[in-house]
């Protein structure tokens, strides 16, 4: 027993401390519940509104102004084509930048300025990236509002997130592993390839999941690029005009005041987008776990 406190004081303080602990525990639990609650409402609303509208014709059909005949195959293909651009561009440029900054760059003003810029870019609103994409890819490079322009714009948008995640993943690899490799005469690249990247890969993939999810759902930069929502033909390559799932959702929601069924179509498209996200994430998680349990 603490000698400065008498028994009464001790009991009183102990009761207070224990009460404080349980109150805070409830506060934290409610905070956690809040997120779950909102998500549940969202999913229930979307599913009740849209689930009945999902059928084979909706998934594989072409777009139409008639809600009964409208399909979203074009938007699904558009989103997939954009991902085909975004995944390799962000992985190569993002991981490459992280490797350079963490392992090759000399710590100095140049490195520090790149680092600061990346952190700042991560906070730039997505619509500004849309303007950048419009200026550089659509107009200056004269690509037009095609898959490649959309994909590159979204890549720029999510690159800072991926770079920072990859840097943290690389930094978390214990330095004594790299030292063991250098100590046997390995070059920097051999050490990166055989020791650092395999150890950092699971965390890098977690970062890439986050950034891809962001890219799939972005609408604002696409509207600025002038991506149409009412588009009948399917995209077949990098230089085709396209539309994407979030664009489809955006326009149908906007026009639901004109045609009530559009709200249901938007909800159905949201379900498809969520499922697509879920599938992409599962693939990334599968790859991550495969590498984690290699030894």
């Amino acid at each position: 027993m603490l000698s400065k406190l008498d028994q009464q004081q001790y009991t009183k303080r102990m009761n207070n401390r224990i009460r404080k602990n349980s109150v805070l525990q409830s506060v934290f639990f409610l905070s956690a519940l809040f997120g779950l609650f909102v998500l549940a409402i969202l999913i229930i609303r979307v599913v009740t509104q849209g689930f009945g509208w999902i059928d084979m014709d909706f998934l594989t059909g072409r777009l139409s102004t008639d809600p009964e005949r409208a399909g979203i195959m074009g938007a699904i293909l558009g989103t997939l084509w954009v991902m085909i651009v975004v995944i390799p561009v962000t992985m190569i440029v993002g991981v490459g930048t992280a490797i350079y900054l963490e392992l090759y760059a000399k710590k100095g003003k140049f490195q520090a300025s790149i680092q600061t810029n990346i952190s700042n870019l991560a906070g730039v609103p997505s619509i500004v990236y849309g303007l950048l994409g419009l200026t550089v890819f659509v107009r200056l490079m004269d690509l037009g509002n095609v898959v490649l322009a959309g994909g590159l714009t979204l890549s720029l948008l999510v690159l800072p997130i991926l770079i920072v995640a990859a840097q943290e993943a690389i930094r978390a690899v214990p330095s004594h592993l790299a030292e063991a490799s250098y100590g046997m005469g390995a070059t920097k690249w051999q050490t990166i390839q055989r020791v650092i990247l395999p150890a950092a890969l699971p965390s890098i993939l977690t970062g890439s999941i986050l950034s891809l999810s962001r890219a799939i759902g972005e609408t604002a930069p696409l509207t600025v690029l002038g991506i149409p929502a009412l588009l009948i033909p399917f995209p077949n390559g990098f230089f085709d005009t396209f539309t994407a799932l979030p664009m489809q959702i955006y326009y149908w929601t906007l026009d639901s005041s004109l045609v009530a069924e559009y709200a249901n179509l938007a909800a159905a498209t949201i379900i498809v987008l969520l499922v697509l996200l879920f599938v992409l994430n599962s693939v990334a998680i599968f790859i991550r776990n495969k590498f984690q349990h290699r030894y």
């Binding site: 030292e179 490799s181 250098y182 100590g183 005469g185 030894y295």
Partner: protein, 279 residues
């Protein structure tokens, strides 16, 4: 000290008259590392001050001294591992078999292939025992499975760990005990067939039994390799080394035969340290 200086001077001359006669070549072979007026700074901190040391081939050279005296820094300079720390500057020279390793033209990859290192904390890769051993040979381009198998067996036998692991070569190295991991790291180092093995307090994280095993191993390895070992443990230095260097505040206070250093040190600071008065 004067003997060392003389040797240093001799080597300088020998380097200048390199390959003039067979006689010089034999004499030169005795010295593996010759350090001349080495100074090293970590940014503003002067960590090594005017180091002159001549380290012989196929001997065990122990480096002792209190924490922060520069002993680890010194052996990390011998394979230029110290360059991984940003802001390191050096002056002076260290010749390895007659060539200055601090020279920009000396490639670190070449140096570290010939000068292997065992670290303070056992640091196996999170791979199988087999993959740990073949890491070095593989980065140097050996791909033949039969040759790799041979290297694995030889290296593990060389580090006296073969019998303990031969039935589980393809299990994760993290499943080994600390002492076994350290011997695995020594085996991994042997797989590259270096000339010199640097050991940075290799037993400080190990229990007494594992320490004894490593010490016995060092005695065996000395026949084929030059070994430079940093140790906190003075009894260890006395037990296993031929030469001992005592470092204090970044300077070499005394360097000579281990017997002399421990029985009849010429500097009072050496005597204070080995008799446990400080450090």
């Amino acid at each position: 000290m004067s003997v060392v200086m003389m040797e240093n001077k001799m080597t300088v001359q020998l380097n200048q008259e390199k390959e003039q006669s067979a006689g010089t070549a034999i004499e030169e072979k005795d010295v593996v590392f010759n350090t001349k007026e080495l100074n090293l700074w970590y940014s503003e901190t002067h960590a090594l001050k005017n180091i002159n040391l001549s380290i012989n081939e196929k001997e065990v050279t122990a480096i002792i001294g209190p924490s922060g005296c520069g002993k680890s820094t010194y052996i990390k300079t011998l394979n230029r591992m110290v360059e991984l720390v940003p802001g390191v500057r050096t002056t002076g020279e260290i010749t390895y078999k007659g060539k200055n390793i601090l020279d920009r033209s000396f490639r670190v990859e070449d140096l570290r292939t010939q000068v292997g290192m065992v670290f303070q904390k056992p640091n196996p890769f999170p791979k199988s025992i087999y993959e740990n051993i073949v890491y070095g040979p593989k980065i140097h381009g050996i791909r033949n499975k039969k040759i790799l198998d041979e290297i694995v067996e030889q290296s593990l036998k060389g580090a006296y760990i073969w019998d303990e692991v031969k039935d589980r070569l393809h299990e994760n190295a993290y499943g080994l005990s600390g002492g076994q991991q350290q011997r695995l790291c020594i085996a991994r180092c042997l797989a590259v067939q270096p000339d010199v093995i640097l050991m940075d307090e290799p037993t400080s994280a190990l229990d007494p039994k594992s320490t004894l095993k490593i010490e016995e191993l060092i005695q065996q390895l000395k026949k084929d390799y030059s070994i430079i070992i940093v140790t906190h443990n003075m009894q260890q230095a006395a037990r296993i080394s031929d030469k001992t260097a005592f470092f204090l505040n970044g300077e070499v206070i005394e360097f000579g035969d281990t017997n002399t250093i421990f029985t009849n040190p010429s500097d009072s600071r050496t005597e204070d340290y080995i008799s446990g008065r400080f450090g």
